[in-house]
Amino acid sequence: MNQTLKRFFGTIIVLLPVLVLLAIWVTVLPYSIRFANVSMTLLTIGRLTGLVGLALYAISLVLHVRIRPLSRIMDLAYISSLHHDLGSWALVLLLIHPLVLAISYIQMGWYFAARFLIPIDNLVNLAGLLALVVMALAMLVTYYYKANHTLWLWVHRSMLVAYFGAFLHLLFVTSDTSASPLLKYYLLFLMAAGAVAFAYQRISRL
């Protein structure tokens, strides 16, 4: 099998958890409700970007560990590039997530859309928003600041704080995940896999 084909199959394997997530997600609510009108469509898109973004975040964390079966299929350089790309896509989707949800609130009034983006009275959303801010800042630093490697490393690791914030948000938010325990536990499982991968890598380096 040539390298391109190996990489293609490797990417499919890596993205398989997202496909499973989507398969579970489509069973949660009927399409007639999900896309009933513009507002519901935006709500659906907002929720979906959050779910997929979180799944990609978890996969990206798993990929930063050298997984032997995977490294037999794909070369390490490609796995590393997948780790970066999936991490970036996770951030992009997670950035879209609150914005689209806020836009869906505009039909009720701008006040509600704005209030949604300043969730001082909603700790669950606040955890999600803070996680997103930390993730975005850490990503910018890892992109553009490489002068001090130790600092760069610590900032990159601070994404784990964002990961924890996202975990809390997922655990308590009322959304598709609260309607479907299967969806919730599947995402929690993916996130746990990411956390275990991180812990494994830290321990193995001791």
């Binding site: 409700i33 970036s88 992009v92 836009i103 009034g109 006040y111 509600f112 992109y143």
Partner: protein, 148 residues
């Protein structure tokens, strides 16, 4: 990917700012409007033992203080199943029974009445889980009893 992500972060900040600015300059007392919209539907139900469609939908069972929920009336699944139309719509959410006919008549559900009517006369617990606390708060105004 680096440039694309950076552009997305900048766009995020811009749109975030626009929405916040929109909220700040919006001089419509939107909070009152929203509270009114949600609580109006609740009030229709809670204060209407003898008016509107609510009394018509409670004809086949005893109904002591159903609207306030202070004395819990119990209903069987079969009782609930007989109220399965959009004008006479009961549903079960977490073993509690709600008469949402009045809410349907207000047409104030975000996804439209078609999101509610398929669950009239049925258990909607799993689907209702998508709502946030304000959704549950609105629903509580339509409480009529518990499941046997």
């Amino acid at each position: 990917m680096k440039k694309f992500t950076t552009i997305c972060i900048v766009l995020f900040c811009l749109i975030y700012g626009v929405i916040l600015a929109g909220g700040a300059i919006s001089h419509v007392p939107a909070s009152l409007e929203y509270e009114a919209a949600t609580s109006a539907a609740v009030t229709v139900k809670s204060g209407s033992t003898a008016t509107t469609g609510t009394s018509t939908t409670q004809s086949n069972t005893s109904s002591t203080s159903q609207n306030t929920g202070t004395t819990a009336t119990t209903y069987s699944v079969t009782d609930v199943a007989t109220h399965s139309s959009s004008t006479n719509c009961w549903m079960i959410v977490s073993t509690k029974v709600y008469d949402v006919s009045a809410y349907i008549s207000t047409g104030s559900h975000r996804a439209g009445n078609s999101a509610i009517t398929p669950y009239c006369g049925k258990d909607a617990t799993s689907v209702f889980g998508v709502h946030n606390s304000s959704g549950y708060s609105v629903l509580s105004g339509y409480y009529i009893g518990t499941l046997k």
